[in-house]
């Protein structure tokens, strides 16, 4: 038996107060308040003192790249899951752009088996491909993928350029009750762009990617969502126009959800500095107006989810010409720390933040996640105040590519609990 004592338990809409939680056989068996002087009820119980800490339903990062199979030099399922545990995540959803692509039950099962056997303890809910080989030509077998454990479909990284395919994907996935996650990018508008279009790109002589490369596709997909009645989830929203389109769509009752990543509400295109490839990401870091619009979108509920778009790369991919450098930020281990700043800056309440990092992603991928008697004991314990320095070279992730190296962040996960077992404990990790 495990007892988590004296923490502020926040399960948005359900609980917010100081409670003790008893866990047995992987499930929450009791929530209450023990007498301070009384024994926990079982002398064999492990007692975790969570006073001054926040206890929340396990954080879920619904947009990560674990790179395995195929790109194990960038990340493996084991290292990615270890990074997730350290970042406070009890579950992650890896995108299908592996090699081979996760467009079949076999690959989907392989990913889940690797995650189970790697010992990191984090749950992995794979995202299957929208199209076979991410090639945009034929639908992947959604039924098979769902049976194997896929929780959504996406061609992330390869936008679906064919509107008819996107329509059918939304329709067909509706039959499975699963969402389609859209990487919104008009490849022709993005052209050879490598950073946000604007003054900074012009000064650096880098080809720019306009906001419209994203927003025209958000517009199309919202229209297709309305047409089909399917479930659309917009990945990594970066542009203010996209926020506005999604807000309007929600007002009209269209079933669209959206996510953004910590780098979009934290950084602007200025982070590219003098060709710093750790700030090269797709979609690109945008202007201050876009960053502010993303924060507004989070605050007013337009953006449902914070997901890191964890995109680990090796120096082979990043320590090259800016034009040639791979897109992406290794985000699992900084996501919570960066997101907690939104609470400090009064953009979100703590409950709202937990909603966007835990409850909402669980709802979108159709998994139960909460703190109540009988629930699966997936929980994250957060120290909201401890100050720490980001050290990329000590990441669990093989991807050390982060523009936040050396940043001082406030707040972090101190314990990650999956199925009642501790998979990360900061006090035992020398942190």
């Amino acid at each position: 038996m495990l007892v988590i004592r004296g923490g502020r338990v926040i399960d948005p809409g359900r609980l917010d107060g100081v409670h003790d939680i008893w866990i047995e056989s992987g499930r929450i068996v009791r929530i209450g308040n023990m007498d301070e002087h009384a024994e926990p009820g079982d002398e064999n119980a492990d007692v975790i003192d969570a006073s001054g800490r926040i206890v929340v339903p396990g954080l879920i990062d619904m947009h990560v790249h674990l790179r395995e199979p195929g790109y194990e030099y960038k990340e493996t399922i084991a290292t990615g899951c270890a990074a997730a545990a350290r970042g406070g995540f009890t579950a992650v959803c890896p995108m299908p752009n592996t090699n081979p692509v996760n467009d079949s039950a076999q690959v989907c099962r392989f990913i889940i088996d690797q995650a189970r056997s790697c010992g990191a303890g984090v749950k992995v809910y794979p995202v299957g491909a929208i199209s076979v080989g991410l090639a945009g030509r034929e639908l992947a077998e959604y039924g098979e993928l769902k049976s194997a454990g896929a929780v959504a479909f996406s061609d992330d990284g390869n936008p679906v350029t064919n509107g008819q395919l996107m329509r059918r994907a939304l329709e067909y996935a509706k039959g499975m009750g699963l969402p389609v996650i859209s990487h919104c990018e008009d490849l022709l508008l993005a052209g050879k762009g490598v950073m946000n279009e604007g003054t900074f790109a012009s000064r650096l002589g880098l080809a720019g990617i306009p906001n419209a490369a994203e927003s025209v596709m958000v517009c199309r997909d919202v229209a297709l969502c309305e047409l089909t009645g399917g479930r659309l989830h917009i990945a990594h929203v970066s542009a203010r126009e996209s926020v506005e389109i999604i807000r309007h769509a929600k007002q009209r009752g269209i079933k669209v959800t959206a996510e953004t990543a910590p780098h979009f509400f934290t950084l602007t295109e200025e982070a590219v500095g003098m060709y710093d490839t750790s700030a090269k990401v797709n979609p690109p870091l945008r202007s201050a107006a876009d960053r502010d619009a993303v924060r507004e979108g989070l605050a007013d509920g337009t953006i449902d989810v914070i997901a890191s778009d964890h995109a680990p790369h090796s120096t082979v991919d990043k320590d090259v010409e800016f034009d040639a450098a791979a897109n992406g930020i290794s985000g699992l281990e900084t996501s919570l720390g960066l997101s907690l700043a939104l609470v400090k800056e009064n953009v979100l309440s703590m409950a709202d933040l937990i909603e966007k990092m835990s409850v909402a992603p669980a709802r979108i991928i159709g998994k139960e996640n909460g703190i109540f008697e009988g629930a699966v004991a997936d929980m994250t314990i957060i120290d909201p105040d401890s100050s720490w320095i980001v050290r990329a070279d000590s990441f669990c992730s093989l991807g050390k590519n982060t523009p936040f190296d050396g940043w001082e962040l406030n707040g972090r996960a101190v314990m990650t609990i999956v199925d009642g077992g501790v998979v990360f404990d900061a006090s035992k990790s020398g942190l």
């Binding site: 012009s202 000064r203 650096l204 002589g205 880098l206 080809a207 720019g208 082979v316 010409e321 800016f322």
Partner: protein, 311 residues
């Protein structure tokens, strides 16, 4: 007094004093050209490695000649003669070059920012010989030198730059350099060729070439890349030549003593009419000559040289 920076990566990182020092040094270097023996022993025993990762004739020859006239030892590499064709990364190639202990590395690359990246990895001065759409500082310096020579000043002059500004490293460096030295700048191009965020550049912008030409003291015509029509930047070479090309008719709008520049190589009959390119206002060939002098000055200054009259 020397340069305030170790490297010459772009005009933005040079101060006005740096630019003046380079131009003055280049003026003195040019005197060497008129001697019977066009070579001085100043950089004897120094090694220059020039690495051209992108095709170039004029700039490459100019840097090579500059090194030779100062008696430096010169190693010239291009992407096709280096191990990069065998898959070696740029950083590895350059780290290997550095083990050969050069005193300066000259780099031309098709990707913006590569000279900056190299400068972070090596311990010797790096001179940018043109990087992607970003910067071409030695070109801007030779342009300023040529204008200074012809007009006696840069301060207060009006420079018109006509062409694909958005994709031109020459335009970027000229804008930064001429503004820094007190000139005003007007850009003329169709809107498809004006960079995003141009309003922060401190220049005037017009879509009408006639407006840019009238009132200009100096006109810089940029080379138009004909294949860019396929990117929908302009409908045809014919229409471009008519609306933005510098021909005798359009030149009538200019000041009587206007000077015409071009970074070369020129497309005769496209951005510039043959009679204008060869006409009395053209200082295009002066630019080429001054290019060698400017690059000699850069070698000399980045290798710690201080010019004094007795040298």
């Amino acid at each position: 007094m020397g340069l305030s920076t170790r490297d010459v990566l772009d005009i933005a990182s040079l101060s006005g004093e740096d630019i003046s020092l380079i131009l003055e040094t280049a003026r003195r270097m040019k005197e060497i050209f008129r001697r019977p023996v066009k070579k001085v022993p100043t950089l004897r025993g120094k090694t220059v490695v020039s690495f051209f990762h992108e095709p170039s004739t004029r700039t490459r020859v100019s840097f090579d000649l500059a090194a030779k006239r100062l008696s430096a030892d010169l190693v010239s590499l291009s992407a096709s003669t280096s191990s990069m064709v065998k898959g070696e990364t740029l950083v590895d190639t350059v780290r290997n070059i550095e083990q050969m202990v050069p005193d300066v590395i000259v780099i031309r690359h098709s990707s913006a920012g590569v000279p900056h990246m190299l400068a972070r990895h090596v311990s010797v001065p790096v001179i940018n010989a043109g990087d992607g759409m970003h910067a071409h500082p030695s070109q801007a310096l030779l342009d300023m030198m040529t204008v200074l020579e012809k007009k006696g000043r840069i301060d207060g002059l009006r420079l018109a730059i006509i062409g694909d500004i958005a994709r031109s490293r020459v335009a970027r460096s000229d804008i930064e350099g001429f503004l820094k030295m007190g000139a005003s700048v007007v850009l003329a191009a169709p809107p498809t060729m004006i960079p995003a965020g141009v309003e922060s550049f401190g220049v005037d912008v017009t879509y009408d070439a006639d407006k840019a030409v009238s009132g200009a003291d100096v006109i810089m015509m940029l080379r138009i890349q004909k294949e860019r029509a396929a990117s929908f930047l302009f409908p045809s070479v014919r229409e471009y030549a008519l609306r933005y090309g510098l021909n005798a008719e359009r030149l009538k709008l200019a000041k009587k003593d206007v000077a015409i520049m071009h970074p070369g190589p020129i497309n005769r009959g496209v951005e510039i009419a043959p009679d204008v390119a060869d006409g009395k206002h053209s200082i295009i060939l002066d630019q080429v000559e001054n290019g060698v002098a400017v690059r000699m000055a850069l070698f000399y200054l980045v290798m710690g040289g201080q010019w004094n009259a007795g040298d």
